[in-house]
Subunit: 289 residues, 2 copies
Amino acid sequence: MPFVIFHNKADQKPLSEEARIKIGLLTNAEILDISTLNNNSLVPATEVIKKVIPPSAYLKPSLFEGMIRPKDLVLLVTPIDSEAPEGRMILPQQMAIRDVLDQDALCLVVKETELQDVFDRGLKPALVVTDSQAFGMVSKIVPEDIPLTGFSVLFARIRANFDLYLKGTHKLSELKTGDRVLILESCSHHVSCDDIGRVKLPKWISEFSGKGIQFDVVAGQDPIPGSMTDYALVVQCGVCVVTQKQLAGRLKPAVEAGIPVTNYGLSIAYMNGVFDRAVAPLSLKTTEQ
Amino acid sequence: MPFVIFHNKADQKPLSEEARIKIGLLTNAEILDISTLNNNSLVPATEVIKKVIPPSAYLKPSLFEGMIRPKDLVLLVTPIDSEAPEGRMILPQQMAIRDVLDQDALCLVVKETELQDVFDRGLKPALVVTDSQAFGMVSKIVPEDIPLTGFSVLFARIRANFDLYLKGTHKLSELKTGDRVLILESCSHHVSCDDIGRVKLPKWISEFSGKGIQFDVVAGQDPIPGSMTDYALVVQCGVCVVTQKQLAGRLKPAVEAGIPVTNYGLSIAYMNGVFDRAVAPLSLKTTEQ
């Protein structure tokens, strides 16, 4: 674990040369004389901290980085169902709106029921992002020449295991009767996750595969029942609330056991026949990174 | 204080006729036999509660009600400054986006730096709403024939004292040297409020009036220093975080003392010479209500 050493109250008494030498015998960590009464300490203190922590700790990845340009019109399709918080937008939608603005682009937000009106007005967005649950309807309305992806696909790209997801999703076509599918929810507080993970996804996967599939749903940090090798596929939720590191840790047993992994959004896109389309807008990053 | 009487565990033993008669001698309140084990109790229980509480307790007022129609394009101008929460939208903006969607309209969100691009694209929004701090810049870019108002003007309309605000704002033109202005912030946690209330508004009001004005800033539920009659004007913040009732209570002493009251957004609109324009989109409601 990297660390730095701050000697505070330098305004009262600076760290002696003798103390510096003694500390130097124990560690190579950087030593900084600071005073919290003195604003001048803030910049050098931040700089030494930055030197020892990974950039991912302070650089937030951008959802749209490399995908949109300034002044682009970006269209977000955000169905409002009974599970949406009253009078607000859910976090992934909020984060996407903010990221579009941070990229100096224009952000158009509509429900799926007003999506057709966007095109009736002659607007041609540079990119459309939809709630993954609406992939089926949205992909029929958005003209083929306009890039389309999903919120959870965007989040999957900036989190972890995206390349594994891309490969793992195809397993949905190979499921056999008796296969077990593990559905992992990261949040334990979000009602709509229950709904998608516990009801809709098992139903959709069963219908899509046409096979008798068993499902286990595990929320938050709950233990996985049985052995990871019991599962034919792991489907991870959109993980709007956990860090990249938490997600990587959560999926590590599956990855190490060679079990295909995918996520909600990519699965739904795949089962709606729009997997290639939903992934295409991200290909710049995934191939060039 | 209106109330209703629930007799629970009706599944075990219904309320006796004798008990009903005894209660009836004490109060006319409605009595309902319920069982929390029985979902059938939920609807009638909700109905009797609704009968005795004011509709404002369960009907959330809409920011845009009566101002926009389904399929309208509504443009929100949301500057992102250093005080904005990282990766998110501030609450009033979130609430406005959601309300536009709830009205089946299309919501375009841009920073003030991309506002010109909206019109360069030939788009003609039915309504433009701006962060009040950007009224000066935004009112110059938005063509005169497009209705323009501010987030805090919208919030003022659905909260309380809007008619008083409309009258009180003009006091800004009549301030005299030595006058005291009371600035009321409702939130105590929101950094940007500090900034507007403590720094920008006093500066703007001083410049606009050209007089030597004294300012007191009071946050949250802190007591008002001295007597309300010491003040020539009260300027209330946008109050995104308090209820209509809390706001009415907060302003009551000023209203009763006949002190002019206004709010941040209307004041900023007024001092930028766009008061009439910012109020015009709301006139339907304020005159017909």
